[in-house]
Every structure is written in structure tokens, then in C-alpha cells.
Amino acid sequence: MRLTPYVWLDALIHAVIVLFVVITTFAYSMLFERKIMGWMQMRPGPNRVGPWGMLQPAADAVKMIFKEDLTPDTADPLIYRLAPFISLICAMGTFAIIPFSGDADGTPWSVGNVNAGILFVFALTSIGVYGISLAGWASGSKFPLLGAVRSTAQMISYELSMSMSVIGVLILTGSTAFGAIVGAQSRVWFIVPQIVGFVIYVITAVAETNRAPFDLVEAETELVGGFHTEYSGLRFGLFFIAEYLNMITVSCLAALLFLGGWNGPFGLPSFGLLGLVWFIIKAGAFLFFYIWLRSTLPRIRYDRLMDFGWKVLFPVATLNLVVTAVIVAVWPTHA
């Protein structure tokens, strides 16, 4: 593809649309989380700002913007200020290639159609860990440092199992492009042959995004606020956005890799806008599961988290990978 001005403009328009949609999704996923958590705890949730609390995200944004932006004396000023942007840019960058639907011929609807799609997403989310680690390190304070150290250890352990669980899908597809992965699921979704991989993916995805019950990075009962203890105002808001965007990213990935992407159930038509609806339902269900999980399970103890990651998830993920590889090698037609 030649990089004519038209191509640039086209990409720019797509990027702006996707950015707008993603930020809106973030804002309302936050509201829905508070609502659903509230209902599960027999509270009404936010309902003061606008009908049904619909303007709560706007009120929160205004609050974040007008709060004082503090930098501790002991902080490393440059890295301290840079860290939230690393988190946010990495969280947003994944949406450059995540497809939300596809044309009838299988061309994905995404800003950029990269043939190494899934690798690109994992690369970005891995770099995102630096945001948290650097934030904790540069804050110059004890609790954030502990949070950052935990986050580094936790992310490294769980990312390994997560990649292992995804490789099973890649073996079945024979490609890392999202269009091909979704196309390969037109008959049967990968949740069926890769159920073990799916379960591992779900568990590791929660750990990867630092959400309850694996939110040891912030662990407010022991670490005040973890890595973002010292952050305030809009810089805290950036971490907040990054966390939710990561949540949406892994939900989209779950839908794309295991739940058939924009393929409809029971062979229903699955491209264009209808495909978009299927995709939103699947990713939304996963987001709901996230919230449901948070209001159900208590935080897991740190040593158990590491035990579970290395002694259970990692061996099972490896076994799943080996079995999948052997089956595909012996009966290539099943792929």
C-alpha cells in the first residue's frame, strides 16, 4: 500500500472515530461497574447526576480535571510525570488494530490491519506494565514501590501463561492476524476445542489487568493505593482510564480469540453492522463477568497468587499447548 495523503487521512478519521467510541465505552463501563456493583451489594449505585446517573462520567471527568496535580518532593519528576502516559498510550494503542467487525469477505473493521495483530497487542500490553512499575518507582514512597514490585512479578508470571493459552488458538488458526483467527471460527468457536486455554486466558486476563481478585498492585487495604498512591487529579485519572481500557482490550481479545469474534451464533449472518452487534454482546458479557467477579471474590493472598500462577496455571497452559500442537501435527485436517 502506497502512503498517499489519502491513506493518512483515512487512517486519521478511523483513529478519531475509534478513539471517541473507546473513550465513551470507558466512561460508561465505569458507570455500569458502579451500578452493577451497587445492585449486587443492595445499593442503588450512582443516581444523582442526570437521569439514572448517566452524567456521572462527565461529573467525574470534571472533578479529575480540577483537582490539584501534586508531585511529591521525593519523586523523580520526569519519570513520575511520564508514567501515566506510558500506561495510557499502551492501553489505547491496542485499539489501533483490534477489529470490531468485518466485511463479508473477512476484511476486519479496524484502524490498521496488521498481520501480526495478536503479537502487537501483547507487545503493547507488556510495555504497559512499565507505566505501573515506573510510577511506583518514581513516586519515591514506600507503598507505591511495593505495589510496583508486586505488579512486575505478577505481570511477568501471568503474562507467560496468558501467551501460552493464546498460542493454542494460533496453532489452530495458523495465523496471527485477527481476520484469519475470526474466519477460522466460522463453524465452531475456539472456546470448544480450546476450553482449557479459555479458562486460563480468563484467569490470567484478570491478573494482567490488575482487577479484583488479583488487584494486589493497588490492594488498598494493605498498600493504600499501590502504585497510584501519590498520584492525584488528572494523572490519577490517566491510570484509571488505562486500567479500564486494558479491561476492554482483554474483553475484546476474549471475544475475538475464543468466542468467535463477530461470528453470529447458530450460523446467523455475521458481517457488517450485525457482526458489530455480536461482537459488542460478547465483549460486553466478558466485561460484565469482570464486574461480577470483582463483587464476588475477595483479594487473593500474594504468595498464593504466585503459587497459583507458577504451579497450576503455567503447567496446565503448557500441557494444553503441547496437546494442541500434537493433535494438529497428527491430524492436520482438524485444524
Binding site: M40, M42, T296
Partner: protein, 198 residues
């Protein structure tokens, strides 16, 4: 190994519990717009009642002030002038102040009163920013003549009207604007302090 970590049944039960709570009726009362129905004998803000002919029930005997365990009531009695009788008795309350910040809303004043003059109403919205505003004097305690005689707790209907949550806002008294020290209660406390010092 870690038995409880693999107790899938318990985890599933937890998930079903939280999911079922999604559809339960929420007990929240959306307070400023919806007010709770208090019991008729709810112990809230005080009220000084009148007789049907408009005379004040209070005879300035100060039994309420003596009964008060929180020392919140300050009564200053005076003789009824022959031409201008304020109460049927010999004396009346020239000044009657209750410091609602000290009050523990126990209702002992109500029980001590020989004429059923002081009663506790279900009104409870007394919040204010000024300390002096919590010293309720007769201008806010006494039932306004146009509002009837006030109701004894025994005579109250079962359902208290919601507007009874609020307090009489007759006028912003000088006591509030000048502050706590200007009330009789404040003066007495000041004198007591001076006596202790000297």
C-alpha cells in the same frame, strides 16, 4: 495443595449469590426526596405546647431543666403580670432555651413536665452551620398560635406526615446571628466559668 483455591463449588455458589442480589429489592431510602416514616413517639426536636385558649402550658417551674441529664435546658421563669397572663399558672417561662447540641433526646423533660408543656416531636432536620442556631429559644420552640396547640405523643396519628421532618422556620432570631454566647445559656455558662476561675 491449596485446597480452598480449587473449591470450585464454593466459588460457583459465591457467584450465584452475587448474581441473585442483582435482582433483589434494594432497601435504600433516597433521603432528601423520600423521607422515612418515623414512629409517632420518635424523639426529635422539642415543642412547647399551648392550651386551646392560646395560653402557654409552661409554668416556668424548671423541673425539665432539673430532670435533664445533659444539662441542655435553661428556663428563666417570671411572675405572670395581672393584666397580661401568659400561662394559667402563677408563673410562666420568660425565657426557655434548649441547646440541641447538648440534648441527648432522652425525653426525660417530657416526663418531668407537670403540665405536658414540653414534648418531643418527630422533627429531626436541624442541621445548620452556626453553633448558635442550635440553641432553640421560645420563638422556635413554642407552637405558633396559628399552628394550633401542638400534639402530645399519645395523641399523634400513626402515620406522621412527611413534612414533620422539618423544623419551624419562624424567623432567624438574633440569637443565631449574634451567636451562642448571646443566649441565656451562653451567658450562664460564661458566668459559671468566671466563678470557677475566681
Amino acid at each position: 495443595m491449596r485446597k480452598n483455591l480449587f473449591n470450585v463449588g464454593a466459588i460457583a455458589r459465591g457467584f450465584s449469590t452475587t448474581f441473585s442480589y442483582l435482582f433483589k429489592k434494594r432497601p435504600t431510602i433516597e433521603y432528601p426526596s423520600v423521607k422515612k416514616q418515623h414512629a409517632p413517639r420518635f424523639h426529635g426536636l422539642h415543642e412547647l405546647r399551648r392550651y386551646a385558649d392560646g395560653k402557654e402550658r409552661c409554668i416556668g417551674c424548671e423541673l425539665c431543666a432539673i430532670a435533664c441529664p445533659a444539662n441542655a435546658i435553661t428556663v428563666m421563669g417570671a411572675e405572670n403580670a395581672p393584666g397580661d397572663r401568659r400561662s394559667p399558672g402563677e408563673r410562666y417561662a420568660a425565657s426557655y432555651e434548649i441547646d440541641e447540641l447538648r440534648c441527648i433526646f432522652c425525653g426525660l423533660c417530657e416526663e418531668a413536665c407537670p403540665t405536658d408543656a414540653i414534648v418531643l416531636t418527630p422533627r429531626f432536620e436541624m442541621a445548620d452551620y452556626r453553633r448558635g442556631a442550635f440553641v432553640y429559644a421560645k420563638d422556635r420552640l413554642l407552637v405558633p398560635p396559628e399552628a394550633g396547640v401542638g400534639t402530645a405523643p399519645d395523641e399523634r396519628p400513626n402515620g406522621i406526615p412527611a413534612d414533620l421532618g422539618g423544623v419551624y422556620r419562624t424567623k432567624d432570631t438574633i440569637d443565631i446571628t449574634v451567636g451562642y454566647e448571646a443566649t441565656n445559656r451562653g451567658k450562664i455558662l460564661r458566668e459559671q466559668r468566671r466563678g470557677l476561675a475566681g
